[in-house]
Symmetry: C2
Subunit: 227 residues, 2 copies
């Protein structure tokens, strides 16, 4: 049952001893694309392998040729979704920018991310699954929130070192700022549907402005700085 002559044979094709017809990478991509489109909004149990195969224009057996399992396909699809959705370069403030402007720019990006239907459905998909307590949830946490927190913590540390902010614990301050930004919108979208609970642009910018304001009131140096 558990013989593995060549490890991960169904995962990445071995360049060695490649005789015979090669696997069609486009079909593999089509399968993953279909999975990424179908799994959100239906959940792991809500969509069948047949449905994915059909949506990909591919035989079911081809799916099982490229992926060992339904679960393996699921994990690959979620992994790609995470990487697509979570940019590495969210926090790249311009040099010499005033701290409020930098914060507001970051806040706009982050809020747009957490309020996007794609992020909502991905988040729901991850939390929905029972596997969430195992590898899947931790994978999402590390690929998403953890990385963003760490990146923003670095930004706050530099701002504090420059005297723009008065922060003792940058990690805690990062959590504060990002939690304020997520606010109630994220949860309401998760509960009431991303499209149903979407808020208009002016409301969103007002929310972001309010958060930046609160954060600055709490973390701006009260003793005026030179510069």
């Amino acid at each position: 049952m558990s013989h593995h002559h060549c490890p991960a044979a169904t995962d990445i094709q071995t360049p060695l001893a490649a005789s015979g017809r090669p696997k069609d990478l486009e079909k593999r991509a089509a399968i993953l694309t279909a999975a990424k489109q179908l799994f959100p909004g239906h959940g792991f149990d809500g969509i069948s392998v047949d449905a994915i195969a059909q949506a990909a224009g591919v035989s079911k057996l081809t799916v099982y040729s490229h992926f060992q399992d339904k679960e393996a396909l699921f994990m690959h699809a979620i992994g790609e979704l995470c990487q697509e959705l979570l940019p590495d370069h969210l926090f790249v403030p311009e040099a010499g920018e005033p701290i409020e402007d930098a914060l507001r720019a970051l806040a706009d990006s982050f809020f747009a991310l957490v309020a996007s239907p794609a992020a909502i459905s991905l988040q729901r998909l991850v939390l929905a699954d029972v596997r969430a307590e195992g590898r899947l949830g931790r994978m999402f946490w590390r690929a998403g929130p953890a990385r963003i927190l760490a990146s923003f913590e670095g930004f706050l540390g530099r701002a504090a070192a420059a005297g723009d902010l008065e922060i003792i614990d940058p990690a805690q301050a990062a959590i504060h700022f990002l939690s304020l930004l997520k606010g109630a919108v994220n949860l309401r979208m998760l509960c009431c549907g991303a499209r149903a609970a979407e808020i208009p642009a002016d409301e969103a910018s007002a929310h972001v402005a309010g958060v930046v304001d609160v954060f600055l009131r709490a973390y701006q140096p009260r003793t005026p700085q030179a510069g």
Copy 2:
């Protein structure tokens, strides 16, 4: 198929024309108890009606005698879970209490709620389900977050009227405070498992203290008040 001689016959037993053997309410309670124990952690599709019936020590047909549907049983169970978990009296500050003490007490209660394994599993159960975008999600939102937000908004409004806090928009400030409290702990517990991500008591109280501190820095009147 859809004849309803007596409306909600499977829901509440009609005291009228009660001839014959009456329904055993203890069995109904046992079914609901089993459902409330089993649905979280397995999801709607993850547990079968047979399993619930067996856990309740009851025949499957009895389940269908008390509840029209698997979905009806699910909704009843979730509804009871919500009501059990969400107390009405979370915000009852003592009169004459300093604002920081009142805030800290509220913060402790609220954080204990959102960081409790029961709340985590309920939240995951609700968000996981596809029905979340329909009645279920809205039911949870209104029974839980919405009510807490409204209650706390009232508290903040009174504090602002008394001059203890300097708040222009109490609703926004309530979202700020509760979002700060939820912080990253809630999401990490959702992702990595409630028990795995549980934080020690001293860390929790430090988190709460930090939040209250930040909130007061942002919302405490800068011009000293009389009293």
